[in-house]
Symmetry: C2
Subunit: 381 residues, 2 copies
């Protein structure tokens, strides 16, 4: 069954790395598929530009070199990829890739099954990939029906940030820690994590880079906020770790010295209560998970935190697989229940697919800075 | 029961950090205790100078500044600790610490129990700490009786190196890897690990720093040896990782770029067989455990190995606790059975307690370099 107004084709944003060392953004006309019995077609109306999307969108290209040619559906934006970075792009060379991990929209066509037809006209969210598309055909199990009265913009960020924030708390518990540290803590994700920890009564040490970010989090009830630009940062962080007992951290920056500093301060906090000299340092395991790469430079640390430590990558999808379908479903249900409160996201601007390609917009959302998160509305003209 | 020749006191090596920024090595006269029923007194005749012992012996002191004063039992060696390093010594300040993790000797006195008396005159090994002592009183459960005909020098290194090498293989298996990488691979420990892997048919990638170290390992049957001083090191290592499928490494150096290079080459090896582009890199977990600190400088890496990676400290004692008493006992039994073959250690020199204090000896064994491992014989005049 198809709603008559459904267009035969729709635009889809594409990112392509060319062997000559250029990245090209364009809009491809993609025919709208006839949904199989267990599928629906969603008219996407809201999809966030998350750091993980921006990573795929621009690859290793230098966004300062972005140039737009043409207009409307035939617009193409080209940017340069530094020669030394081409090696890391080898695996995606020549592949025109759709982008957009998650989003929400209205079901405008449904396959020939009761379950599919039941969704017609409903607003659903999905972690489907290729969500920067006007029409996206999805399996029923990919669709998360949103409660009556939820707008697509309110459900656009149902998955990545909420499940990542919940995943951090879940990982903390599963690995036997009682409180946690978060960096880049004034981000949408960080604010969400702060609300979760307040709700659950969990100690959270928020690390930010600027005084106004600290003020923002404090205004939202955060108890422990450490500003890495402060002269007393190391002492502040150590004290917050003593106060909370946090021995696990989630770091969005990746590069630089922060991850190592956190381990060093954890060790200092643990040693404040140590009773005798241990030449291998504290025996309590200290862990930092790097889940982002806001600082793309090298990671560096002095091993001044004994031998009981770990550092490693953390990624949402393997985490969800590890905890199993049932527990993952419970986390999703919590997100839906708190979509307008705990898990609410905010955006500084809503843009169309064509506007995603505009250099003046790229210069803003491409920074991945706090307060510049954009929402893409592929159905916007 | 006490053997008549047992002296009322014996010398014990001590290391002391003074608040003024000096480290002092001396020989203390310690009265030989009367063993409790479940204890024996061992006349220590052989105890290795392992890197972990050297770490405690010298702390953060600069061995190039070592100065000896006095002679015989009243000799004292003093060395300077750089001001910036005193912070890391805070917890051991003013404590005169005995040294020597492990060693072997002859039971010369026994407590009043059948089990203790049965050991009289026998050669035993122990991981007792304070083994740079002429007489060491030990609990029965700390003593590992050596097979008839084993000299103390042959049993001196029963624990630290053999159990660390076996622990690496055990950790590899428990964490689901099928082959492993080892750095500083020409060390006594590295040669032992090579023999274990040959025995067990496990793929081992040996990383060394010099051509003669590579030649040494190859002469001992090592199949994969990569010399980090070679211009083709990165390619050699990647190929060895492809050939063995190793995705876990044990690194003795700690500082510098090597740990990160290993992860980067593991990722490159995994991607050689990858079928499609994954923006988060290979999904196979890659792990480096840092178990030593031959390079005391900062650890630095570029995160060019996806998100499925971990780095962390690895230490023998927590490992043995984790695997439980039964499995630990099985590992020890394997060591005893192979003491003169797989688990044989070699030393470049045997020195007395007084000689441990001599600057000209410190200059050699203090390097912790391949081929300069010393054996301490506290019973040597």
């Amino acid at each position: 069954m198809t709603i008559p107004s459904l267009a035969a084709s729709g635009l889809q944003l594409r990112s392509l790395v060319k062997p000559e060392g250029q990245l090209e953004l364009s809009l491809a006309a993609v025919s709208t598929p006839q949904p199989a019995p267990d599928e629906v077609v969603v008219r996407v109306e809201a999809s966030p530009l998350n750091p993980s999307d921006i990573g795929l969108l621009f690859g290793a290209a230098d966004i300062a070199t972005a140039k737009l040619a043409g207009s409307g559906a035939s617009a193409v934006t080209t940017m340069q990829i530094p020669g030394r970075a081409m090696k890391s792009m080898a695996a995606r060379l020549g592949q025109s890739m759709p982008v957009g991990n998650e989003g929400a929209g209205v079901v405008v066509a449904a396959g020939d099954s009761d379950a599919a037809r039941a969704l017609l006209g409903k607003t659903v969210a999905a972690l489907g990939g290729a969500m920067y598309s006007q029409y996206r055909c999805l399996k029923l199990e990919q669709c998360l029906p949103l409660p009556e009265g939820t707008k697509p913009a309110e459900g656009a960020s149902c998955f990545v940030n909420p499940l990542t924030a919940l995943g951090m708390v879940e990982t903390m518990r599963r690995e036997g820690h009682k409180a946690l540290v978060h960096t880049a803590a004034a981000s949408n994700l960080g604010q969400m994590l702060n609300r979760i920890c307040i709700e659950d009564g969990i100690g959270l040490v928020n690390i930010v880079r600027k005084p106004d970010q600290a003020a923002l989090l404090k205004s939202q009830g955060a108890k422990h906020v450490c500003d890495s630009s402060s002269a007393t940062f190391t002492e502040d962080l150590t004290q917050a770790l003593v106060d909370t007992g946090a021995t696990i951290a989630f770091d969005a920056t990746g590069g630089g010295k922060l991850a190592g500093q956190i381990l060093g301060c954890m060790e200092a906090a643990l040693n404040r209560t140590a009773k005798e000299y241990s030449r291998y340092g504290s025996t309590t395991h200290k862990q930092v998970y790097i889940y982002g790469g806001l600082d793309t430079g090298p990671t560096e640390f002095n091993r001044n935190f004994g031998m009981a430590w770990g550092m490693g990558g953390w990624l949402l999808f393997p985490f969800l697989q590890r905890i199993g379908a049932e527990r993952a479903q419970a986390l999703r249900a919590r997100v839906v229940a708190g979509l307008k409160t705990t898990f609410a996201s905010s955006y500084s601007k809503e843009i169309s697919l064509a506007e995603v390609l505009r250099p003046e917009e790229i210069a803003v959302y491409g920074q991945r800075a706090t307060g510049t998160k954009y929402l893409v509305n592929p159905s916007k003209a």
